[in-house]
Amino acid sequence: MKRISLILLLFTCITYSQNKQVLYGFNEIPQSLLINPGASITNDWYMGIPLFSHIHANFGASGVSVYDVFADDGRDFNQKLRTAINGMIDTDFFTVNQQLELFSGGFALGSSYEKKEYISFGMYQELDVFIYFPKDYAILALEGNQNNINRVFDLSDLNVSGEVISALHLGYNKKVNEKLTYGVRGKLYSSILNFNSTKNKGRFITRNGTDNFYEHIFDLDLALRTSGLKSLLDDDNSEIGNDVSTFAKRLLFSGNVGLGLDLGFTYKLSDQLTVDASLQDIGFILHSKDIKNYELNGSLVFDGINPIFPETGDEQTADDYWEQVSGNFENLFDVKETTTKYTTWRPVKLNSAIRYSFGKELSEECDCTSEDSGYLNSIGAQLFAVNRPRQPQLALTAFYYRRLFEQFRLKATYTIDTFSNKNIGLGMSAHLGNLNIYATVDNLLEFQNLAKTQSVSLQFGFNLIFDKNE
């Protein structure tokens, strides 16, 4: 059973981008404070149910879906694969992002009738993998160089990064006045695993030569940096269980630590019009322990082997010549290993929204609207951006938010991003007594067949919330 649930959990991780467009601005859900520390808060205090307060998973692949390649449509698999590869470009990418909140909580500060400050805290684990499609490598592997004479194979197409981290955080939120609320959150990161190969350079070209048919030009400048991986690969055990316990220890004490900052604000332009924005994960991690880096540097122009005819009186012996030719190639492909420290920057996320609220609740007693009941609806637009090695990944969202009852709120979103131009998302937050249950999913149109979707994002969680008016 344990194994099945692990596989299920893994599958949800794999099948479900970093964009939490449904959750952003959904301020009844305490975890919206993690996306915008300057959100306006409605509760007095809350506590997340440990391990179940925020489970987030997101998967995205721009340019291709599982269906494109694996559709059971009788077409030749290899043809579908070639079409998919030829259809993708080197800025297409695959991304997996998963978060699990270990614990969280928050409470308001101030006098009982006017609490203007709010402290929130918690810890979460995050996995983030971002891989650009290595187009030129794929073409070289698929076609070879025969039909690609003079084509420059750009080795910078190899661009991959991934990390597993934990973040311990403390946030401060202040309502300055009726118009402005701001917030900051400090984070202490601990890196569990990191690998990145994002600054590769070089090229491989086969062009027509003068002394022989071709000149093969190798120009390699490739590097892969890893931390936290060496000890896992070197250890003698092959038991996944042991590695999991190593991970658990590293949540707090990996030795590869970093600092981060989230900033955010909410500003009421008028009673009904609000703007808000946040920057998340402005931060870095220093990698100094358990490091293993690989470097491949060298250049060579090869146009064949020139045999030595000693009879024609060349000074160099054949053996010398051989040493030289094989030496050249050995040097070219010699992978250097280092343990040099390095720093990684966290992917910075920007969220911003403008919302218009309308429709007050009619009071049953007087057939009039109550002054402080708030608006039932809001519509608006959101912009999301996340910094990635080559270019930012963007998403634009239109949303509708509705309070159905005091205890039940819904938010529907329509998002245009790199993956899709018809991504419909839905989120709900219910309050059963003090228990808050929330869930959000996106790409609903594709939910009937996930194989055709290019991205899915899912969050759900449970909190205990105590409101001001209780």
């Binding site: 949800t12 269906y67 290899n78 592997a141 022989n212 071709y214 090869f302 045999p307 000693p310 067949n449």
Partner: protein, 189 residues
């Protein structure tokens, strides 16, 4: 009630798992994976002037060297090579004919394959191009993949008028070669 939360979470997961599904796809197609890159590589080349066939007034009639080539016997090539084509281009402007021989030898120096061709003399020292092609396919592939060494021999034929090359003889013999390797990569069992 709090005790129910893990169960409820699990049910939520199951719900997403069951309402969402992956349809009309067949992952077993990956067993049909066939990747067929074609690689072209420059092999042996040389360019020798006519006067280098004469040392201290004595004519050198045979030039020969061995070339160690380990790539043919590389495991990747042995497992995946479907077809190989070699192209040899000899450009001669020396007024002497040559007999060329390329021997493919294995580690024990046993001949696996032999290529022989003739290169015409160029009486007017014009560049005469001779092209030879050699294809390895089917069982003949094994002759290639067991090869670790090539021996290249160019034997100059006697002149028709009995003259010999000297330090002032003009012309050159140029040799270019390339291999085209057709790889069939199938998905591992």
């Amino acid at each position: 009630m709090l005790k129910l939360i893990p169960k409820f979470a699990f049910i939520c997961l199951l719900f997403f798992q069951s309402t969402s599904c992956v349809k009309d796809v067949d992952f077993e197609q990956s067993e049909d994976l066939l990747v067929t890159p074609a690689l072209e590589v420059s092999l042996v080349r040389f360019n020798e002037a006519a006067n280098r066939f004469s040392v201290d007034g004595t004519e050198i009639t045979i030039i020969r060297d061995s070339v160690r080539i380990e790539i043919f016997s590389d495991d990747f090539v042995v497992d995946n090579l479907r077809r190989a084509e070699f192209l040899f281009e000899t450009t001669n402007s020396i007024n002497r004919a040559f007999e060329a021989e390329i021997q493919f030898l294995n580690d024990d120096n046993t001949e696996q394959h032999l290529i022989q061709f003739e290169v015409e003399a160029s009486p007017t020292n014009q560049e005469l191009v001779t092209i030879n092609e050699e294809i390895f396919e089917n069982d003949a592939i094994n002759d290639l993949t067991s090869t670790t060494k090539l021996i290249l021999t160019f034997t100059m034929q006697p002149s028709t008028d009995g003259s010999v090359l000297n330090e002032n003889s003009i012309g050159s013999i140029k040799f270019k070669s390339k291999g085209a390797f057709y790889i069939d990569l199938i998905s591992p069992e």
